[in-house]
């Protein structure tokens, strides 16, 4: 069996705020800084989705990227794009919408949802200097 990994890059924009309601305003400010500002802020997120699978001899592809786009659009992008991550995603209720939490949401939405391929990594980039990944193997 010969596996090839395919990575597709997508974009979305969303707002959020880092805030723990069980902490005082002072402690939230001290730990999260400007990310705790009351009315939130936003990012132009980049999402990288990596799947692994065998190459179909007829198409030369692991998966048709249009099909992957459709799946990611329906399962993820339509859920998060131009949304408030603190209030608009029921699965994230009670959590701080950190980059890690968002990566976990994307992982749960896509794991097992891509026919003929295995999800191996999702990477959510908040900026060029900060990103979080969920991966099947540690340190992939």
């Amino acid at each position: 069996m010969e596996l090839v990994e395919v990575t597709r890059k997508l974009h979305f924009c969303a707002g959020h705020r880092y805030w723990r309601s069980d902490w005082s305003a002072e402690k939230n400010k001290a730990v999260f800084g400007a990310c705790a500002n009351e009315n939130g802020h936003g990012h132009n997120y980049t999402l990288e989705v990596t799947v692994a699978g065998e190459v179909d001899p007829g198409t030369g592809m692991v998966i048709n990227l249009s099909e992957l786009d459709r799946i990611v659009a329906r399962k993820v992008i339509e859920r998060v794009d131009h949304r408030n991550l603190n209030t608009d995603i029921p699965e994230l209720t009670g959590k701080i919408p950190t980059t890690e939490v968002l990566a976990g949401f994307v992982w749960r939405q896509l794991d097992g949802a891509v026919p003929g391929a295995t999800l191996t990594r999702v990477r959510v980039c908040e900026s060029d200097d900060l990103w979080a990944e969920c991966s099947r193997a540690a340190g992939s």
Partner: protein, 136 residues
Amino acid sequence: MKPFWTLARRYRFSAAHTLRSPGLSDEENRRLFGKCANPSGHGHDYLVDVMVTAASLDRDVVMDRGELDALVKREIESRFAWMNVNETFGPGFLTSGENLARAVWELLSPHMPPGRRLSIRLVETAKNSFVYRGPA
């Protein structure tokens, strides 16, 4: 299945260095490293990707970003930023990208929170990058 989480943060340091193997003559260093062995030194805008991996999140994060930033400032920035890393690490240390990546790992690794595994990617130029994940 439950994934592993990695939080990654990119830091930037401008530093001077020269490649010099302590056991070799000037001529041998020049032959081995070419222009990188110029004894007057040269420099790079290094990128250091600090990647912290965990099997589960603690309070919605792999690691507190402020804590990571403070750690990198204390342990790395103080030794790299606007400095000559040959001076920082001494004449017995060959300042290759591989060795610098491992040095960064060794400086940060003891300070990782419990259950966190560290990997370092050091980008010397757009053409050269080095990853060290700790002893095998």
